[in-house]
């Protein structure tokens, strides 16, 4: 699980939002103009590896616009891709949980009663709280905080503990995630919740928070499934690209996709790609505080590939998305296939499964294949709105 792996060993380019750029300039940190996969030039920093905590912190304070990786192949790096994807998705979920819990808090009878009683000190979405004051208040109620946290978490975690479909490892991950969600709850909420513990309105808001916690723990599955889908997309684009390159390099041979299992052939392809700076790109566009409506809690992922088969890739992806598979296991497709020979294209069926899971958990997923003619690139784009 990503959270246990503090460093992800993948060289990345990180581009910054205007807030991030401002912070870097103010602190006299050097910025570079980075050429991105789509050809654009952005301010950012290239890193040899990523520290999980600092990446999540930078996403949380809206300093990161995008994270991009460029490689000749992603094989052997799947674990790191899974970790990176989960880190980014969890951070978006923590952030959204913070907003949703605060909205529930503002709409709760607790705050409505407060607002009726103190019309001159109304608490609403526009209220700003003196940070030092809230922190002092929080210190004064610190001994009661675990009690409120327990009130929220206990019934939810009891359900997790009793779920026989989960392994001990999965339960530990959910306990950990639950704690992380608790940390996302705003300080002012903790203060008010402690002060109102035992009141009737308190129980109402606690039940709402329990509902949100259950919902967001379930949404964690999206991070896992998205990471798997992404690896399938990477394998598909990588093998399609390798096949094209191999056919150019070995015109005398009728290269088939199975021939790519030959390590020597793959090394020759990789060398050729390195010499020609012909790379595969994976880009995560993390939404910031941008002015446009609807960009918040949005994650856009793109896999770029230099291929002459744009239309064929577009067709294959669209076919898989259109193919509704409710209740069907991947085994059905193997049974339908005439041979047991497996093809990387089969992994594109994950798109349909992922879409179904997203639908169940209230997350929208859109997939699109586009072309960047100036760079001769085909991009497979996945957009998730959490």
């Amino acid at each position: 699980m990503s959270e246990k792996n503090p460093v992800i060993e993948l060289p990345v380019k990180i581009t910054l939002t205007s807030e991030g750029i401002e912070w870097f300039i103010k602190h006299k940190r050097q910025l570079q103009r980075l050429r991105m996969a789509d050809g654009s030039l952005e301010y950012g920093i290239p890193l040899a590896n990523i520290t999980a905590a600092s990446l999540q912190k930078m996403i949380n304070i809206d300093y990161i616009a995008a994270v991009e990786l460029a490689r000749t192949e992603f094989t052997g790096k799947r674990r790191q891709i899974i970790d990176l994807t989960k880190l980014i998705v969890y951070r978006i979920l923590y952030k959204k949980f913070e907003h949703e819990t605060f909205r529930a808090f503002l709409d709760s009878p607790l705050i409505q009663r407060w607002n009726r009683r103190y019309p001159s000190r109304i608490i609403d979405v526009h209220s700003s709280f003196n940070q030092a004051y809230v922190e002092n208040l929080l210190m004064s109620v610190a001994p009661q905080l675990p009690l409120v946290s327990q009130d929220i978490q206990e019934p939810v975690l009891l359900g997790v503990r009793g779920d026989r479909s989960l392994s001990e490892e999965e339960k530990q991950i959910l306990y950990f995630l639950s704690d992380r969600y608790m940390i996302s709850i705003r300080n002012i909420m903790w203060c008010v919740l402690v002060k109102s513990r035992g009141q009737r309105e308190y129980n109402t808001i606690i039940r709402q928070l329990q509902g949100l916690l259950t919902e967001y723990l379930a949404r964690g599955r999206i991070a896992e499934y998205l990471a798997l889908m992404l690896n399938e997309l990477l394998t598909f684009t990588e093998t399609s690209h390798y096949l094209e390159t191999a056919r150019r390099l070995y015109p005398e041979r009728r290269v088939r996709i199975q021939d790519l299992r030959n390590g020597e052939m793959r090394s020759a392809i990789r060398r050729h790609m390195q010499e020609h700076r012909d790379l595969l790109y994976l880009s995560y566009q993390v939404s910031g505080k941008g002015p446009s409506i609807g960009t918040e809690n949005r994650l856009r992922i793109a896999v770029f590939n230099r291929t002459g088969e744009h239309n064929a890739i577009k067709q294959r992806i669209e076919d898989k998305v259109d193919r509704k598979l409710p209740g069907r296991a991947l085994a059905d497709f193997y049974r339908e296939a005439l041979t047991w020979e497996v093809s990387p294209e089969l992994g594109l069926n994950y798109l349909s499964y992922l879409q179904e899971e997203c639908g169940k958990l209230g997350v929208s997923l859109d997939s699109k294949v586009t072309q960047i003619l100036s760079r001769e690139l085909t991009a497979v784009n996945l957009t998730l709105q959490f």
């Binding site: 991947l330 085994a331 193997y334 992994g347």
Partner: protein, 128 residues
């Protein structure tokens, strides 16, 4: 990806280490085909040291299972956890594959199966 073979009684255990993907999963099938040719009745595939699998690896597990079933051999898959489990859940294969909680549990299941099949083929007591 590496495959190590060891034996526990008449159960053969294939311990796989490393990422199992399009480039490597076919080797598992080759090993299983050799094992099938060697008339080995019980096989365990242990994935505890596999950090992740792609759809080709999942397909290989499905095809190996189907092939062994067709030949009347018994298969158990163990060490299904983390991303490997998630891949099987997403593709709804958890229920279609013979998954055991541990190697010990898999071996025990096969031992029971072996005893039951011996009893079934033995003449009933008091018979001719």
């Amino acid at each position: 990806m590496e495959i190590k073979i060891r034996q526990s009684g008449h159960v053969h255990i294939l311990e796989i280490t490393g990422e199992m993907d399009f480039y490597s999963a076919f080797r598992l099938r080759e090993v299983v085909q050799k094992i099938v040719a060697g008339n080995i009745p019980y096989l365990v595939i242990d994935l505890a040291e596999v950090p992740c699998v792609d759809s080709s690896a999942v397909g290989t597990l499905v095809s190996v299972h189907a092939e062994l079933e067709k030949r009347g051999r018994s298969l158990q898959i163990t060490g299904v956890r983390g991303s490997v489990k998630k891949a099987l859940e997403l593709t709804r294969l958890m229920a279609s594959l013979p998954i055991a909680g541990s190697i010990d549990e898999a071996v025990e299941r096969m031992r029971t199966e072996s005893t039951e099949s011996t009893e079934a083929t033995s003449p009933p007591p008091g018979g001719p």
